[in-house]
Symmetry: C2
Subunit: 251 residues, 2 copies
């Protein structure tokens, strides 16, 4: 796909008042994050902005200049609050109009008499964009330059993501290995882990607590691109944890 | 709390590699969004950034200058990857050191011999900050200026949020009313809804589809601060939807 070792980066831009009001709980960032990690693209930032054109344009222009790809979710439906396509056109400074290719895709679902003015809004695509197929409800997403525009409804977004992913440049996949620290407190192993992290600069090491039933349970994650470097760090973490034999630790 | 009609705004800054890798699915943005809406604070933006100091500092400075409050989650634990407190100090240009008040709170949980160097990291608080109580695991959050710094573990974050919320200035609560459009397609009512939205500029009207079992189900939400304006828009939407008697519509 590309020269070995190249880093491909991405940002997600979630567009929608309903996320910021708390009415709808976003599930797309987590899905996209996991998907990108699995195909060797590093998600570096995510933002949520309201349905306000200048906010969308500003965020798009900040992110698309900085990362290899920007994935947007939301705001491409048929109602007046769906302003993502127009905002993308404005961010790129290109015209937007009804796209015959998009209309043709939509006609697989609609009868001619069903093509209301509101639905025709979904065929408005910025000039120069490639369409992204929507196998579920037909109205397409699109890609313009490095910006991939998708629906907000999770299963439609996921279907569009599958379609768009085929054309993405990918890098070396980051490998993540999880080591159970279980009931060993972070505050006990923190200093030793910091020393291991300092001694293994080619990997990144994180410590992730969760809290249930009045107790912390901790996991340490070693992430990197080189298997032998990860194995060395993992061995060091394992040996360090084994020294805390007085605490519960699931295998 | 404040002069009537004043708008209080906020942003959320989620800090953590684990969210961007997809390993951990964020639940804090949705929780904070709903909470803020309920107390009359408008969440205007959310961002997720990695555990990299310059990224955290840049996002903090962008957001704290723009919104009444910034709420951060994550990065205040005892391990080397917990760099939020130092990043906040850097963003504000103030020193950071071990805070005797924070240590005293932590000693409610720890024996003196348990106060490892890693745990002492959690007592590092930027100069001038007020502490935020942590009834669960004691190591406090803090507030510096308009920035409220909380843990990433959801139930600890929620407890800190309860403590911090007491001192927040709040505005007029936004009222949101949901009207079931059920099986009426958005593409059918989109134009009529746009006309209603244009005729009721004092409220904001959104249309929110979900997709299950091969069908869309739609809801229309009218949001605003003035009950009589909301009632008028709601009545217009209801009358408009009633004209589509050929579609299923739950009561």
């Amino acid at each position: 796909m590309n020269e070995k070792g190249k880093t491909i980066t991405a940002a997600v831009l979630v567009i929608g008042d309903e996320i910021l009001s708390g009415r709808t709980k976003d599930r797309n960032v987590g899905y996209i994050a996991e998907y990108l990690t699995n195909i060797g693209i590093e998600l570096r930032e995510a933002r949520v902005v309201p349905d306000i054109e200048k906010e969308i344009v500003a965020a798009l222009n900040a992110l698309r200049g900085r990362y290899t790809y920007v994935f947007t979710t939301g705001g491409i439906g048929p109602t007046h609050d769906d302003i993502t396509a127009d905002s993308v056109a404005k961010a790129f400074g290109v015209p937007i109009d009804e796209d015959p290719r998009a209309l043709a895709m939509m006609m697989e679902r609609y009868q001619p008499g069903d093509l209301t003015p509101a639905r025709r809004r979904m065929a408005r695509i910025p000039a120069g964009a490639d369409l992204i197929e929507n196998p579920i409800s037909k109205a397409p997403g699109f890609r313009l330059g490095n910006v991939i525009v998708m629906a907000g409804v999770p299963n439609i977004m996921q279907a569009m993501f599958d379609a768009a992913a085929k054309d993405l440049e990918t890098g070396v996949k980051i490998i993540a290995e999880t080591i159970e620290a279980g009931g060993i407190p972070e505050g006990r192993y923190g200093s030793a882990l910091a020393a291991i992290a300092a001694g293994h600069p080619e990997v990144s090491i994180g410590s992730y607590p969760s809290f249930q039933d009045g107790r912390f349970r901790n996991q340490i994650v070693v992430r990197g691109k080189e298997p032998e470097k990860i194995a060395a760090a993992r061995a060091a973490v394992g040996a360090m944890l084994a020294s805390f034999s007085e605490y519960d630790r699931p295998l």
